[in-house]
Assembly symmetry: C2
Homo-oligomer: 190 residues x 2
């Protein structure tokens, strides 16, 4: 049985058995406990993380010391700080598992070698990142356009299971609410 | 003399003279007058636009009929609605030149063929889109973290020439202000 990551890649590009064996040399499984930082502000992001099982969050800490979540990743999503990863410069973010998770990791110093051995992976990452970028374009629209209540209802409709899965204070942070405000919305008072 | 687009591509990947001649068959120059829509809400986005000279904006029209700008592109940037382009589904956005502009266009139905003839272009687009996506990750941070006044000062510091170049009501729209509020900030009253 191949990991979900291999199945995910095979949805986008073709790899024969021999090529899959090469790929498996470049992706490393990593089990992580929830709330343990994989990346901290000021550190250089050395990895791309694929969520095989579990849930991750990307956040920053604001001037008042408050954690502000800007992104989640669940199964079959990639997570990284791409600025820090691509330029190998200190990150402005933290990456942390929300649940105990199993990840597959591609290390920065191996990715170019992977592309040379399997040029199809260059295509896979181009397709994946275009998908992520196109989602960002729409998210910017929502951030400009939606009220807080609309944001919650929209997010609930798009990702109903996700809403049940993550702690409420994290959902509130992502949506830019206080936990109290979210609680009021959920009681249908707003 | 090659167009800026070719020079831009050559910064990221190698192409010999023969390959550049192939590339030139796939990119078409397009002169556009300002305020003429290249894409309207409901239309399918069929092109990726590279700004050879000029300035473009991506915006949507909200429920009240107000134009809300979410993105600009100046020289050496690409502009498209990637969701509509990649899925060939109706767009939620408008694309319009802010100034009379010269663009280079890659058509949706030719891009796969381009990648087959010149696999280096797959890499070029992977690198370009990763750069755009990493900028999005940081922009989300700013949207959560900055006050309106801070947004303006940050944007002015990063892009001083750009601030002079675009109409003030467009800058206000992008930053989520009213034009009056922006005018107050610029007079250093806020």
């Amino acid at each position: 049985m191949y990991p979900n990551l291999v199945k995910h890649i095979l949805k986008y590009v073709s790899l024969n058995e021999e090529e899959i064996q090469i790929l498996l040399k470049y992706i490393k499984p990593l089990s992580v406990r929830k709330k343990v930082n994989l990346l901290k502000e000021g550190q250089i992001c050395k990895s791309l993380y694929f969520v095989e099982k579990g849930c991750m969050r990307l956040f920053f800490v604001d001037d008042k010391g408050v954690e502000q979540i800007t992104q989640f990743a669940i199964e079959n999503w990639w997570m990284s700080d791409f600025t820090s990863f691509n330029t190998q410069s200190p990150s402005q973010f933290y990456i942390q598992p929300v649940e105990n998770s199993v990840l597959y990791v591609v290390e920065h110093h191996l990715r170019e070698q992977l592309f040379q051995e399997l040029p199809q992976l260059e295509r896979y990452f181009r397709l994946i990142i275009e998908k992520a970028y196109s989602a960002s374009q729409i998210r910017f629209k929502y951030l400009y356009n939606f009220s807080k209540v609309e944001s919650f209802h929209h997010f609930s409709t798009l990702f109903p299971e996700f809403i049940q899965r993550i702690p409420q204070y994290m959902l509130a942070s992502y949506l830019g609410f206080t936990p109290e405000y979210l609680s009021e919305i959920r009681k249908n008072r707003l």
